[in-house]
């Protein structure tokens, strides 16, 4: 068929499809409010779109001019964007992810999570123990002015003061924790894409610093206010660091050893998992920042209350990660099991 005849035969169809895209295709919100009686019904769009792709293939094959193929190409691209767009997140699905999908994902990557936990806790505990044996070691890790600052932050002589801080109100510290801690967690995950080196480095470094600070304060007799400060929010914070590190390790591992997948496919899968894990880490660290800013810093609270709340929070996190998502989540079809 000659090009002009082809165009003449199908032009009306293309124009109708374009009109539908203009009125209803671009924004879901506009589509809900407009009722265009003259347009094609929505249910017909997939069929119309397939016809269009067929016509484009024909046009390309028959060597029709760029004008025609470009128009069809543009229409097809817009149609493709409408038909294959990611569905908007539903609040129920989001909630189900945080309650169930996220713990399930953490358990699926348990090897990486275990490795990350070892990298964080083992150096920390070793440094802590070493400083108990030889307190002078802490000055090998931190400069003296930093040590003095740590000590003043947990000064038990000043009961009215907030624990764990030099200056700043609760809200200021909340902002600081959000910015600082979550940025570190995101970087811990993302730097795992450098063959896992970045994540390993951040985990070891954090383990050493946390162990060093705790060890020093314990050794100089400021242990009590320090533990009272950290015991609560650490349930969320330390666990989130481990999960962020584990998410980084899995992306690094998939990059180094993609197995039977193409490397790019392995990376995309790792990126998908990593992003979901990071979203969970984000939520955990927001909770941790709330606790750290508004609960952990209360200086007058008796140690017994602090420790029992902390025990509750730790078991809550543990239970959530252990049992969460064992059943079916909303949005999941009943499996094939009979």
């Amino acid at each position: 068929m000659k090009q002009d005849a082809f165009v003449a035969r199908h032009r009306a169809e293309w124009d109708a499809f374009e009109r539908w895209l203009d009125t209803r295709g671009d924004s879901a919100r506009r589509a809900r409010t407009t009722r265009d009686a003259g347009a094609i019904p929505d249910s017909e769009i997939p069929a119309r779109y397939r016809r269009l792709t067929q016509q484009l293939a024909l046009a390309a094959r028959r060597g029709y001019s760029t004008q025609v193929t470009a128009r069809l190409q543009a229409l097809m691209q817009r149609g493709h964007a409408v038909l294959y767009r990611t569905p908007a997140p539903r609040w129920r699905r989001v909630a189900a992810f945080f309650l169930g999908g996220f713990p399930r994902l953490v358990r699926e990557e348990w090897r990486c999570m275990l490795a990350a936990a070892i990298m964080l806790y083992v150096p920390g505990i070793l440094v802590f123990a070493a400083i108990q044996i030889d307190p002078d070691l802490s000055s090998a890790i931190f400069p003296p002015e930093m040590l003095a600052q740590f000590e003043s932050m947990y000064d038990p002589a000043d009961a009215a003061r907030k624990l764990g801080r030099d200056s700043g109100t609760d809200i200021a510290m909340f902002g600081f924790y959000i910015f600082n801690n979550i940025s570190i967690a995101f970087k811990t995950f993302a730097s795992g894409a450098l063959a896992a080196i970045g994540s390993i480095f951040v985990l070891l470094q954090n383990g050493l610093i946390i162990g060093g600070v705790a060890g020093h304060l314990q050794a100089v007799g400021r242990g009590d206010p320090f533990w009272r400060f950290v015991c609560g929010h650490s349930a969320f914070e330390l666990t989130a660091i481990v999960i962020a590190g584990g998410a980084g390790l899995q992306i690094g591992l998939r990059m180094l050893a993609p197995g039977q997948q193409r490397r790019i496919d392995a990376l995309i899968e790792a990126g998908r998992r990593g992003a979901l894990l990071s979203a969970g880490v984000f939520a955990m660290l927001v909770i941790a920042a709330f606790l750290e800013a508004f609960w952990s810093s209360i200086g007058w609270m008796p140690a017994a209350v602090k420790y029992s709340v902390a025990a509750m929070l730790w078991s809550l996190v543990g239970l959530w990660l252990w049992r969460g998502g064992r059943g079916l989540l909303p949005g999941e079809l009943e499996g094939p099991q009979a």
């Binding site: 004008q67 470009a70 964007a81 767009r85 990611t86 609760d170 990126g271 992003a275």
Partner: protein, 228 residues
Amino acid sequence: MLLDTHHDVVTPEGVALHLPVAGPVPRALAWAIDFAIRVAVLLALSMVLGLLGGAGAGVMMVVAFLLYWFYPVACEVLLDGRSPGKRALGLRVIAADGAPIGWRASFTRNLLRVVDMLPFGYAFGLVACLADPAARRLGDMVAGTLVVHLLPETSSDAAPVVVPHPPRVPLQPAEQAAIVDFAERAPALTVARRDELADLAAPLVQARGSRAAEALYAIAAWLLGRRL
């Protein structure tokens, strides 16, 4: 074509989407515009929040955090893949299969900016971008996304209406397409350029200059199926 910066994606319907991928320069410019916007917002807010003391500083940090990590994500998902900077440069972020980008993919590609920024000034991302045929930085690879140029709407000018004339020799499909393309685009060119291009077909139409162009128009009209 070796030098072509198009990336073809085959859709479920078996037709190739022809996506013009964007190289590092327009992307860097778009990033610079977005960066300026973020800094401006932060500065403007700091003047207001600075009056509130400690609480203001806290809110400020939260805003800085959101601007740093979530400004690109929100722009890409809510503004149809186009942050203000990308809009200015005519770019758009899409999923690698040509569909609009979703929350998770956008979050992934922006998280991995951390790596693309290494060791300084997006050097890592630049190298990846230059090495990859689809000009993706690492974040794009992991998230499965592409940055493409938005093509300007082409006004579909028809070939000039002239008396059709068959070509003297049978033409290959590619040759036919080239002649029809010429006829559709030549009216928008300057006369000198049009005649220069028409000269290339001198052996076919046995004429030069504007006579050659006229002859090509006639062949194009014939190829398009117009008959007297």
